[in-house]
């Protein structure tokens, strides 16, 4: 049974990756977990180190959490010098996630990473909601998203995965724009803007007032976004959002994802990704599949149904 997936030169030995910002730089969790994953997406790396936002950065919500980390990261130089050597040793694909506040900064960070042989692909974060200049100003403008891809594409032969935000009306337009500019894949979703208030102090629980919602609570939103995007693009869609079990992962494949990333659940059980890999393979074997590809987009739609918001003349939406 085939479990692997190739996205250009990126070879994933299985369909389960760990999401940016939820597995550190890959080595922290490795001390007590078995890293048999399709890939590790690193914490977002920016040109200069970033200290991140003041406390409080975390608030728990119903089956989810809000974060306002503020892209705290070591910066590209320290990333290459200190974080890449141990990452290179791991038997899994390494995808470097890049965040920036200008097109030039994205390009500059990527160029510095080009000489590092251990990086298998880039994920471009145009969707961080927690810093003024964290990319969301790109991610919520279709033309700015396209501009980022257009600027990066000529300067690398490595696969470019563009990570999209759900905080837009039609994510399919953004996915299509990425495809047209030569992106190899899109991943979705980053966190949803949310907030939480302490009713006794009347203060917001996060220092930045709003933050990014993640975890099982957002899974239905993520599934709908993956479904919508995968209906219009031919490049692979990588599904992210609230995945906690192999059943969740299968659901994402059925909705149209070619692979998935596990985020928040790494905090609760660092072995979640490995367990999902095993569970999905067992499910595929039991149901007699030759390849997990057979599941991708294989949802059985009711007659006449299509994703709301998709640019198809027949679509009605459900306002």
């Amino acid at each position: 049974m085939k479990t692997s997936l190739d996205i250009g030169s990126l070879h994933l030995k299985n369909r389960v990756l760990v999401a940016s910002g939820t597995f550190g730089y890959g080595t922290e969790a490795a001390t007590f977990t078995d890293v048999t994953l399709g890939g590790i997406v690193t914490k977002s790396v920016s040109l200069e180190p970033r200290a991140g936002n003041p406390p409080s950065r975390i608030a728990e919500t119903a089956s989810g959490m809000l974060n306002s980390i503020g892209l705290a990261n070591v910066g590209v130089e320290a990333f290459l010098r200190e974080k890449m050597p141990p990452l290179r040793e791991l038997d899994t694909a390494i995808i470097a996630n890049i965040a920036a506040s200008s097109v030039n900064e994205y390009l500059e960070v990527m160029k510095r990473m080009e000489d590092e042989p251990g990086i298998d692909a880039y994920e471009i974060n145009v969707s961080c909601p927690n810093v003024k200049d964290g990319g969301l100003q790109f991610g919520t403008s279709c033309s700015a998203t396209a501009e980022v891809v257009r600027a990066l594409r000529p300067h690398t032969r490595r696969p470019l995965i563009i990570k999209l935000t759900p905080n837009v009306t039609r994510i399919s337009e953004f996915a299509l724009a990425c495809q047209e500019e030569g992106a190899d894949a899109v991943s979705m979703i980053n966190t949803l803007v949310g907030m939480s208030i302490n009713i006794y102090t009347r203060k917001p629980k996060l220092s930045t007032v709003t933050g990014g919602l993640s975890g099982p609570a957002i899974k239905p939103v993520a599934l709908a976004k993956v479904f919508e995007a995968s209906q219009v693009v031919s490049i692979p869609v990588i599904g992210i959002g609230g995945i906690a079990s192999w059943e969740d992962a299968v659901e994402f494949l059925l909705a149209g994802a070619s692979a998935v990333q596990v985020g928040t659940m790494n905090f609760i059980d660092p072995d979640t990704g490995v367990k999902i890999t095993r569970g999905m393979e067992e499910y595929a074997r039991k149901t007699g599949l030759d390849s997990l590809d057979e599941l991708v987009g294989a949802m059985v739609l009711p007659e006449g149904a299509s994703a709301p918001g998709i640019m198809k003349s027949s679509s009605k939406g459900h306002d």
Binding site: A51, P55, S63, A72
Partner: protein, 259 residues
């Protein structure tokens, strides 16, 4: 440092003070290597609500077992309080650093507020092993909430005056230092943030070495989410992580001021 994630069996779970329970589990890998001040995170059930693990200090290792003290305050601790002997809980640990109990001082001054006394039984036994003098100041809201088991040389302060000193634990300690000569002290403190801030300014003002065990909201507990910052005292807007750089910090190194 090795960490273990295990579904472990509960061997004791009973109230020891008002709204406060002692929870003991069979976890030999943990009890063999844990140091005073370190913590674990517990997943209280296998559903997705509550979602995050909860951090708890190891109160004391006892042979192959570890004991925790928890104060019932919300969703997670209410679930813990319903567990029975033989039930299991998923524990990950040990996490974080330990108190710097070695070193050049003679008298360990333990200052705890509320459930902040949790790590003190373990710390006390190590201090006694190392031949240190120990004096312990405990602050509680009321007499029924004083947790005095496995501690030595106790001075109690209560907010309502129902036991010991009527007032804050820091005032109690201040009085006591006024009336006694304390040989080469070092303070170890754990409790709510406002109390820690008061202990910090008290000790810095007198040039007494001091370690504080901090709390923070935590998502992971082992250094990957960056969710638990505390600001460096001498470098504004730069942060240490409570879960991996701490929870125990030198009072000189961190600041509680909020923007």
């Amino acid at each position: 440092m090795n960490k273990f994630q295990r579904e472990v069996a509960i061997t004791r779970n009973e109230p020891v003070a008002r709204d406060t329970y002692a929870l003991r589990v069979h976890f030999p890998e943990l009890s063999a290597i844990v140091e005073p001040g370190q913590f674990v995170t517990m997943r209280v059930n296998d559903t997705l609500n509550p979602l995050l693990r909860r951090p708890y200090s190891v109160s004391r290792p006892i042979g192959d077992e570890c004991e925790f003290l928890y104060y019932v305050i919300g969703k997670g601790t209410r679930i813990l309080a319903r567990k029975r002997v033989g039930d299991t809980v998923n524990i990950l640990g040990p996490l974080g650093n330990s108190f710097g109990f070695n070193g050049d001082y003679e008298t360990a001054v333990l200052v705890g507020g509320g459930i902040g006394v949790a790590p003190f039984p373990f710390l006390t036994s190590r201090l006694v092993d190392h031949g240190k003098k120990v004096v312990t100041f405990l602050g509680a809201r009321t007499a029924e909430m004083v947790l005095s088991d496995n501690l030595v040389n106790l001075q109690v302060a209560t907010d309502d005056g129902t036991a010991g000193f009527h007032g804050t634990v820091v005032d109690c300690m201040d009085d006591w230092f006024g009336a006694h000569s304390v040989a080469k002290p070092k303070i170890f403190s754990c409790g709510p943030t406002p109390m820690l801030a008061a202990v910090q300014s008290w000790s810095l003002g007198r040039g007494i070495p001091c370690e504080l065990s901090l709390e923070s909201e935590m998502a992971c507990g082992f250094g990957i989410c960056q969710g638990c910052p505390v600001e460096h005292r001498h470098a504004e807007r730069t942060y240490a992580l409570v879960c991996t750089d701490g929870p125990c910090f030198n009072a000189e190194d961190i600041t509680f001021k909020r923007p």
